[in-house]
């Protein structure tokens, strides 16, 4: 049953979308074609889909581990940003370096940066029992402002006519392109490896087992001697590192430099991806591709049909809304109840 609800939610989203399009005076079939098919009916479009899906999948796979452990990290967007700052900083301070170790070091720093940012909610949660939903979310805004501060100040390109941007990354600091003539880059390989690693970790290792037990039956976890605090630390650090990887793979990839804004909300959309993919690695790949399509489809609809750019957000919102609603109706039976007749 749990695997039916995503399909159901998508169907409902598409139906509502068609309704919405007809209200806006657009032929719904034509609009859907522009939204879901036109963006990817050529090779460049298909690779663009992978480019957009890469940060989504990276963030979502990290979040899924936390969600399985009942650790609600909402701040992947901030961890992504700090990952980009850490990785990018290396280039900003050593722009002339042409070492082959430049990019690997940036990737490593990206993961460390994301993990450090996620360590703050982990510390607050384990030490003061502060709700990680609030702390991780608030840290998103701190991270965004931190990035803005840096690119307006110390990270700004001295030859950049005062634009708030860093130098454009050199080749040795940029993700190799996988397919000539497209933007498909090495970050997609990292995402794929991350999915495989996470899958093995969850299915075969003790720590993965602990994550699942603590998430579903915390008392059984305590009985088995698994430490809840350890799992909170682990899942937040893991999620943060994955989001940090997404961040560095964006700025070393399609973005190519540090800017005040480096992500159109990938870290938030990744929450939808994780749930739509049922927190399963394979599901997350599919869900990541689908959500990436809403970004592309929104752009096409904007260009070809003159739709507002908000259509992407509306579609993403509807998917989550219907998914949660379907889950409720699948798990609970709806019953009208008179007052006082309960229990």
């Amino acid at each position: 049953m749990v695997y039916i609800t995503p399909i159901l939610a998508l169907t409902l989203t598409i139906l509502t979308g068609m309704l919405l399009f007809s209200f806006l005076g657009v032929d719904p079939v034509e609009a859907l074609r522009n939204f879901f098919i036109v963006p990817i009916n050529n090779q460049y479009g298909a690779t663009e889909l992978l480019v957009k899906a890469t940060p989504l999948i990276l963030c979502a796979i990290g979040l899924s581990v936390g969600f399985r452990a009942n650790v609600w990290n909402i701040g992947a967007e901030g961890q992504l940003t700090v990952g980009a700052i850490f990785g990018g900083a290396l280039f900003v301070y050593f722009p002339e370096t042409e070492s082959v170790f430049m990019l690997p070091a940036m990737i490593l720093l990206g993961a460390i940066g994301g993990a450090l940012w996620a360590a703050i909610p982990a510390f607050l949660k384990t030490r003061f029992n502060a709700n990680e939903i609030l702390t991780s979310l608030m840290l998103v805004y701190v991270a965004t402002l931190l990035l803005s501060l840096l690119v307006h100040g110390p990270f700004r390109d001295p030859d950049g006519y005062n634009f708030p941007e860093s130098k454009i990354f050199t080749d040795s600091a940029t993700m190799p392109i996988l397919l000539e003539g497209t933007r498909l880059h090495f970050g997609s390989i990292i995402a794929l490896l991350a999915v495989l690693t996470t899958w093995i970790m969850l299915a075969k290792t003790l720590i993965g087992f602990q994550v699942k037990v603590i998430g579903t039956a915390p008392k059984a976890g305590a009985y088995a001697g698994f430490s809840q605090k350890k799992i909170i630390w682990f899942s937040l650090l893991f999620g943060g590192a994955m989001a940090g990887l997404a961040g560095i793979s964006e700025v070393s990839g399609p973005v190519g430099q540090l800017l005040p804004s480096i992500s159109p909300g990938y870290g938030f959309t990744a929450i939808i991806v994780a749930f739509l993919g049922r927190l399963h690695p394979v599901g997350i790949i599919f869900a990541g591709l689908l959500m990436a399509l809403t970004y592309l489809g929104g752009e096409t609809a904007q260009i070809n049909l003159g739709m507002p750019v908000a259509v992407t957000g509306v579609f993403q919102g509807m998917v989550l809304f219907y998914l949660l609603a379907c889950d409720v109706f699948v798990n609970y039976r709806f019953q009208l109840n008179r007052f006082g007749k309960a229990a």
Binding site: A203, K204, T205, L206, F209, K212, V213, T216, A217, K219, A220, A222, Y223, A224, G225, S227, F339, G340, K341, A343
Partner: protein, 517 residues
């Protein structure tokens, strides 16, 4: 204190029967409460007290039987209907908003909109009248447990109840607070309010109540005047004396002490928990020690500190073969040869959503070496799960099925099997056959005895005295966080155990209650 004789009893129940799936919770129960009477409902946990009270308070509907209110047949369909009849209930656990004031909390529980100024005046009036000092503007989180209970009582009194139901009201009170409560209850009784008082504390019932109805195993046993009974005779009625003959092993085979618990005290982390107070006992090799007691007297806390889920404040409080283990976590205690079967099978002893294979891995991965170079060895784990299923006769269609798909008895056999097949030196089992059908219970008992005969030490914590007498060599009783000295089961009588369970102390012959403070 005289009970006024009116024409009809305030409340009368005839033949109340309630069947739950697999359990007959109430079997043809009669109850009669006169006006102004304090009536005790006495019975062990699981005797059917709460089911009966829920039927009176309209929370559930009995399958059959009649309820008469002042002599008129009445159908109480909901708690709302109960309240409008004049029935008030004080629950064991309060439903109060900590961040609101006393008056606000009371207003929330009253029907309709309240004039707060008038309500505050009423609260002061009622609370002073009945010796329940309470200030309407105080915030609830600043109050003691006893004061919080007063809020609930005042809330009921403001609605002029004719019958007040109290579910183990003193379980959360200090002795002084309890004495004050009794004064209030006697005053109410003198004014004609009937009180149904649920408890298993024999002292209280003898001191306070005019009548007592005793339930056992869902059946009505007797109605009596507790002031004319002895605590011993009440305990006998409550527990029953028809115990099966023990078939435990020869006591001469007992070896040296394996587990020693020495002066173990621990403050509970739970607000409603019980603090452990200077617990002392030991378990020898090849011996089965039973710990009896009514639930909620410190068993949960004791089991947690023994399993390592809660660490002891001093490592020397718990010694295994002379080695201090009080500060070791569950994994390290298992490595030292201790196994545990917790009370709650689903969610504590097993992960309900996970397969039996995964649940076999849960506690045995270290002792059974189920990790292979950091990865879970699936074949080995599956073999172990299959071994448990075979040797302990677990009825399941396969080890890949979720733990929640097994019946209670089969899951219990699985968990007991998982723990026993790790060849423990010491196994600690909580309520081994609670809610388990007779066949599975016999299997589990046999497995426990067999294990002890092979030289393992066994600690069984249970409420079921039949069970403890059937399998234990020695028994100790836990009450209010204190453990009595243990005695050979031949030296213990059921009455003595009953008295100890009721927390009765000071009557000369009960010296074994360790009231060392």
């Amino acid at each position: 204190m005289d009970t006024k004789d009116t024409e009809h009893p305030r409340l009368e129940l005839k033949g109340i029967t309630k069947q739950y799936p697999g359990v007959l919770a109430n079997d043809d129960i009669d109850l009669k409460i006169l006006s102004g009477e304090i009536h005790a409902l006495l019975g062990e946990n699981g005797a059917g007290k709460s089911t009966l009270v829920k039927a009176i308070y309209g929370v559930l509907k009995a399958d059959s039987g009649e309820i008469f209110w002042n002599g008129t047949p009445t159908n109480i369909a909901s708690p709302h209907a109960a309240r409008s009849l004049g029935i008030g209930m004080i629950f064991q656990h309060f439903s109060l908003f900590e961040a609101m004031t006393v008056a606000e909390n009371i207003a929330l529980g009253m029907p309709g909109r309240q004039n707060m100024a008038e309500l505050a005046k009423n609260i002061i009036e009622v609370s002073e009248n009945y010796g329940l000092p309470l200030h309407p503007d105080r915030y609830v989180h600043t109050l003691s447990v006893g004061e919080k209970q007063r809020i609930e009582i005042v809330r009921c009194l403001l609605q002029n109840p004719k019958l007040l139901i109290m579910d183990e009201p003193t379980s959360v009170l200090t002795p002084q607070e309890a004495d004050k409560l009794f004064e209030t209850l006697r005053r109410l009784s003198a004014e004609g309010v009937s009180i149904l008082y649920i408890s298993h504390k024999l002292d209280e019932i003898k001191a306070l109540c005019h009548k007592a109805t005793i339930l056992r195993g869902g059946r009505y046993i007797a109605e009596c005047d507790p002031t004319k009974e002895t605590a011993k005779s009440l305990a006998e009625m409550m527990i029953g004396t028809n115990l099966t003959t023990p078939r435990h092993q020869d006591t001469s085979k007992r070896g040296p002490v394996r587990l020693k618990v020495h002066n173990l005290s621990l403050d509970s982390t739970d607000q409603f928990g019980v603090d452990l107070n200077l617990i002392n006992f030991d378990v020898k090799c090849g011996e089965i020690l039973g710990i009896a007691g009514v639930a909620g007297n410190g068993q949960v806390e004791l089991l947690e500190v023994l399993s390592g889920e809660q660490l002891s404040t001093d490592e020397a409080h718990i010694l295994l073969e002379g080695q201090p283990i009080g500060k070791l976590g569950p994994v390290d205690r298992r490595k030292n040869g201790i196994a545990f079967v917790p009370e709650d099978r689903l969610g504590h002893g097993s992960v309900p959503e996970m397969s039996l294979v995964n649940n076999a891995f849960l506690s045995a991965y270290r002792t059974k070496n189920l990790l292979d170079k950091g990865l879970i060895n699936n074949n080995k784990t599956t073999d172990f799960a299959k071994e448990i299923v075979e040797k302990f006769d677990v009825r399941t269609s396969g080890v890949s099925h979720a733990a929640s798909s097994l019946s209670g008895g089969n899951l219990q056999k699985f968990i007991v099997g998982r723990e026993m097949l790790q060849d423990p030196k010491l196994i600690i089992i909580a309520h081994p056959t609670w809610g388990v059908d007779a066949g599975a219970a016999a299997d589990i008992h046999q497995a426990i005895i067999d294990l002890a005969e092979k030289g393992a030490s066994v600690l069984v914590v249970s409420q079921d005295l039949d069970e403890l007498f059937a399998i234990s060599n020695r028994i100790a009783v836990i009450a209010e966080g204190r453990l009595s000295v243990s005695r050979d089961i031949h030296e213990f009588t059921i009455e003595q155990i009953g008295l100890l369970m009721g927390g009765t102390s000071g009557s000369g012959s009960e010296k074994e209650v360790q009231s060392v403070a």
